[in-house]
Amino acid sequence: MRITRRGFIQAVGASAGAAAVVRGQLAKADATAGSLERWATPEEVLVPSICQQCPGGCGLLARTLDGELAGIAGNPLHPINRGALCPKAFGALQLLYDPRRLQGPLARDGARGRLRPVGWDEAMQRVVAHLSQLRAKGLAHTVAILGGQYRGYRDTVWTRFAEAWGTPNYVRVRCLAPEQPALAHQLMQGVTSPLAYDLAEARCILSFGVGLLESWLGPVHASRAFAGLRTGAEGPRGRLIHVDPRRSHTAIKADRWVPIVPGTDGILALGIANGLIREGLHDREFVEQHTHGFEDWQDASGQRHQGFKDLLLGEHGLLTVSGATGVPVKTILEIARDLATLKPAVVVGERGPAYGRDDLHTRMAIHSLNALLGNIGVSGGLLAQAAPPLAPLPPVRQDEPAKRGLARPRIDGAGQGRYRLVGGAPQVLPERILAGEPYPINALFLFATDPLANHPAKEAFARALERIPFIVSFSPFLDESSSRADVVLPDSTYLERWQDDQVTHLAGFSCVSLAGPATPPRHDTRNTADVVLRLARALGGSVAESLPWERFETLLSAGVRGLWESGRGYVVSTPAEESLRRVLERQGYWVSEFKSYEEFWKALVERGAWWDPTGLPVGRKALLRTASGKFEFYSTALKTIVDEAVKREGADAPLLGALGGRDRGDRLYLPIVPLPAREERGNFPLRLITYRLVTRPVGGGGNQPWLLEQPAVLVRAAWERWVEVHRETAEKLGIADGDSVWVESAKGRIGLRAKLTAGGRPEVVSIPLFGGEGPSPNDLIANETDPVRGFGLLNTTRVNVTKA
């Protein structure tokens, strides 16, 4: 073989090349194997978080893999849910990874031009410039803030901002405020904190349309209490009696389901009260010693007043009650006997939708049963927990423009006139804004609410938004309302931000949950609380001084320090440790687990919640804070409010009209519900009832497909939208299961699939609140406002159903 010089060089080059290739491949393969191993074993971290899909306040464990959120589970240490979750919690993943989330702030080109992406600085500058102009013109009060369902320090931030800025128009849109006492409880007991129904310890629960196992204040906690009621090892098995026109999930799980004519719950409560009193089953000792207005009485001026007992017994005989409610006399008597014999018994009459036009007196009548049973301040009855000892924040500083602005009346009329008893009346906003009453609104902040999707008067609301020159939305999505905004400052979802939750409405403990971000924000979004703090700093002056915290977690830390300093309660831990501490505390020992606040804070973030299980519930005396110091069947607080209104506005005071007029005499201040007049059915012979499915979160969850595909509990349906029609009614109308039908009211009509149901009242049709795009029951419901709650009368609309 002849070796040439060229051949030698070629051979060396080829060998070197081949060696390089082989070495490179090997190195690459080595690297790939490493990353493969790394990919197969990502770092798993479980981060405590708080579910915000409903007001339940359940604790979560967010499963993260290399910082990416990969799963949701219940936090086994959390006292509210102890590791259990309802289906809604799992929708959080799809909320987080929704491809339609906004990538960053948006701002409009010119007046109502196209929305385009902008940087945070530019977006904030726009907001600050607009707000500063309004304040300079003395129009601070024309800024309105519309907030949805949330509580804790996010509410604190907005409240302080509104107070320091100088607007009375911080309006909340929600049908139930769990952190506030129900109006009936305020008027009859004078309480200022929410009462807790001790469901877990009760042996008999009477629920008036409250979806305990569906969508009431946290279905997980209520379900755990229900499980205890049914299978409790101690004592006899308890009973759940559920009054509801609809055959709901709670109804089929109840020991007794009582179908009722919609809107007559209060009359039934009075019938039960009649049975209790007549048969001598009420708690005589409590009624004689701790109540006012039960018997006829005489006031200081010598005027005689009719007592609750005589009015009730004379006007609400059981045949009359049975005729109005459709509940047999025997059933009414049996419920009364159950309540009196299965002690402790508790009567729950607090739910989101109104009971009807006499909502306040209905709730008072229902609550009066608790007094007749003597279960106020008793284990298994109605309790109130001491508020968590969070550190008080420095007072809000108000400059002159702020004081002037806050002195103006609210745009929704809450706290005056017809709406004297309500804290907010979002239902009336469209008409008020359109009429410019009492003054035009120049800027609107939308936070955690989408009125154009969920308000019964959404068309009017859309026109109202057109009248407002500057709208800022904090929605993470470009929803119906945000698409009308001038600036969108997208909020991070709750798994991406610091959050807290303060739960005071549950019996047995008060609880503060705290969570850091489970995962970094996926997009250029920011925690709205941080944005408001930054906005306050940019606005300067007393607004900045009232919100001095650099970041939201700084505010959280300042507030939570109070828990550490209070010398009571515990950061949640394992049940064994908790039992030990409970035993020790009952013997008078409380030992701190931590040496410093930093240790306490670290543990709180790592475990997810602080609670005070051994903290003494507020006693009976503290639960009766009325003028008489007793439970008031005759509400002197309501009398005072009405008298003031009459003195100020004359005998035609709108509040008096809203409550039924002066003609009602003492009945106005007593839990006496007038018997309903015969209703003209006209072209709409059926009554529409709306309800929330256990699988639908606040806002509807239209963007969470896992929840949409959950099958309904009582009808065979998933994904689609349906109306539930009684079989008898369907047969008369010629409608079969699955038929397409039109549901029509005086307001409009929507097309849905008919699902036939058995049981319940034939004249009732039910549609779940679906949320999102598509036919909605809100398209049928007239925008009527309940004058004592400020929210819509959702279950009073009459409809007709025809085959499509």
């Binding site: 007549r278 017994l313 004379g314 006007e315 005989g317 047999p328 025997k330 008597l333």
Partner: protein, 173 residues
Amino acid sequence: MRWAALAGVLAVALLSWGGLSLWAAPDVTQPIQFPHKTHLDLNLECTTCHERAERDAVAGRPPTALCLTCHAGGDGTGEIKKVQAYEKGGEIPWRRVWRLPRHVFFPHRTHVVVAKVPCQTCHGPMETLMKPPARPLRTLAMDDCIGCHEKASAPAEKAAARPRSTDCNACHR
């Protein structure tokens, strides 16, 4: 002698009549003319008022308080006013109409709740009465009881929650 025989016959006849009168239950007059028909037409069940029939052996008569749960207010008729007059005057002195022989044990609860026997089976068509019955609408004989209890041998009845016994001691004390 003839007169003595006649007096003897008369005495026997009088004794027989008196004995029979004593043996047969006298007519019962109730303090209130209670119309069962009116109440049952309102879809009230018998056990709404005779509630002890579902709990106890004896059905009993309803206490005044139970009547007043419906009849306390309004402008009542004369009979309702009579009921209302008892509000502070104690119990209405209802008089018992149905009586079983002392040696028979008849538990209402077993028959009404467990066996679901309609009240009319023993008590007759009470739902037709606008006045309280002066005497039982049906007079029960032992054959009536046995006739029902013997149905237990029928195949369809064998699966009943509680077998019906024809043992003497089941009813006789």
